[in-house]
Symmetry: C2
Subunit: 357 residues, 2 copies
Amino acid sequence: MSRIDELTRQTGEWLRGEGPMSEVVISSRIRLARNLKGYPFLSRADQSQQRKLYRELSECITASPIGKDIFIADFEELSELDRQVLVERHLISRQHAHGEGARGVAVSGSERQALMVNEEDHLRIQVLRSGLRLEALWEEIRDIDLSLEKQIEYAYDQRYGYLTACPTNVGTGLRVSVMLHLPALKLVKEIDRVFRAAHDMKLAVRGIYGEGTDAVGDFYQVSNQVTLGRTEEEIIDEFGKTIIPKMVEYELKVREAMARERPYQLDDKIWRAYGILKNARAMSSEEALFLLSHIRMGVAMGRFKHVDVQTINELLLQTQPAHLQKIHQEKLSGEQRSIKRAKLLRARLEKHQPRDN
Amino acid sequence: MSRIDELTRQTGEWLRGEGPMSEVVISSRIRLARNLKGYPFLSRADQSQQRKLYRELSECITASPIGKDIFIADFEELSELDRQVLVERHLISRQHAHGEGARGVAVSGSERQALMVNEEDHLRIQVLRSGLRLEALWEEIRDIDLSLEKQIEYAYDQRYGYLTACPTNVGTGLRVSVMLHLPALKLVKEIDRVFRAAHDMKLAVRGIYGEGTDAVGDFYQVSNQVTLGRTEEEIIDEFGKTIIPKMVEYELKVREAMARERPYQLDDKIWRAYGILKNARAMSSEEALFLLSHIRMGVAMGRFKHVDVQTINELLLQTQPAHLQKIHQEKLSGEQRSIKRAKLLRARLEKHQPRDN
């Protein structure tokens, strides 16, 4: 079995549903964009330079302290389906999966660390965990960053900071990103207000699969857009202590109000989602996310006990197109996936046979 | 317990799901519009004339051969809720329920016969049964009509035939009406073609609750509009041997094609309906009809065996607003009904716990 096959059978740490504020915060992520001194940015690098970069960075990662626990996936040797699995697991970006030339990703066993080589920048170090744990993540990523810097020299400018392919990343090269589950704000149509506030604070709000994707199933990624002129600690502090806790509080308040003022409507949403997931014979991945989202809310609120968060989180991943094909070990058409997805959901939810109340 | 309370606990014969072509034909109905000679039409009758009419017709019905098995509901003594129950059971029209003055209905125990007194006409004799059984119904209603005519004289004109309040009923005073269940034609969007054909044949197509109501849950009432210039036998013959069998054949063909060409889509519709009915915590009567309709199709096609037609038919009635309130013996707001309706559906479907396949 390949390492990618093994991945599809486990749940990354970031999807465990644990950690601070995990009723609303699915996961936190920090990434640093880094480039090597003495090489052109990738947009200007030729194939041999790109290959040399790939080799140097792979070796450097392997030799670093995190190297023991890491496996490196070389994209030129990986099938499209395997790369898609990595996208669905949030270990690489879509762009990286569809890129060209020597490139890859180094992934730790727990999937808490993923270092993309030759994505937009030469190196993108990422750490991710479930719940809101930005400070711990910051310590973790700083250690990785420093250990790598002992072996290689980053492109760095005294005035601007770290130099990056895209000007929006220049400076710290830092992006902090938190995935939130905001079903109640969506249900009461307050979500646009959150978006406007985020926009005013120069934050980006994206769907579950990053740039250019819609928010499906009420999962939203909130991240900083500006990295220049502020320290890493300032950005992380604001995110972890002000911005995200406020959004979480807002979502929780609306959930409480719904539970108090219209409990039947709320339970109706949750139970219908369950009824459809447990009985449908065909289902898109978008609908699965959407319905699982409602159940997740019910579980988080203590109103629904027939499925555990762990199962929901696993299903969020396993119902994605590439994972589904990996599980069935064959290439499937959209219609076939839709049928297999519904079957998988029924089988997984079958164990949980609730008594009516 | 009042006679109306008793009614709500039984299923009228017309909802048994039996008889010819019952996969598609819910029920057949024939009604005759009659007026008494020597009285003005109701639109011109004063209160005392209306009362006299009511008394004379009630006595005449009681004295006729069907009188033994019949109970007469006097609307001036009946609550609005009880009258609504009669509407939901298709024993009286909405107009009759909301009318004024001395009026009522005579209903046989099996609910196969219902004679409205002082609706639009002095007397409207109706017979109804499940399945397509127009010839038997015609024999039945002719016997009732003749037995009444022995006691009273109808307003009749040698040239025009039976005289009625509305010119569209003049002549035979006959309306033949068949309730069809056409979910497949709806799903493949062929239903408009059926409507156009019906329109060309001067037929009316209405929803499950008669004039001015939408077709909810894919149930359609098809009836003749012209009663003048043709004999009763001609109208009934055309309906029972040509028009309805053709529509039934069309619906069945589409069902077969769906089962052959996209079985998963079809099963998905059926199972989702089941999943929602079995889990929702709030539901409108329209949605209940709609979902029960899909399950009924699944049962009729032999694809779904976890609920029997009898249960579906009972639920079609019991989820209606007035029935629901009768069952709970209290007046309920729309929201309360919605919650109780969902609860009733869950409880009734709970017995049927399917194994997954």
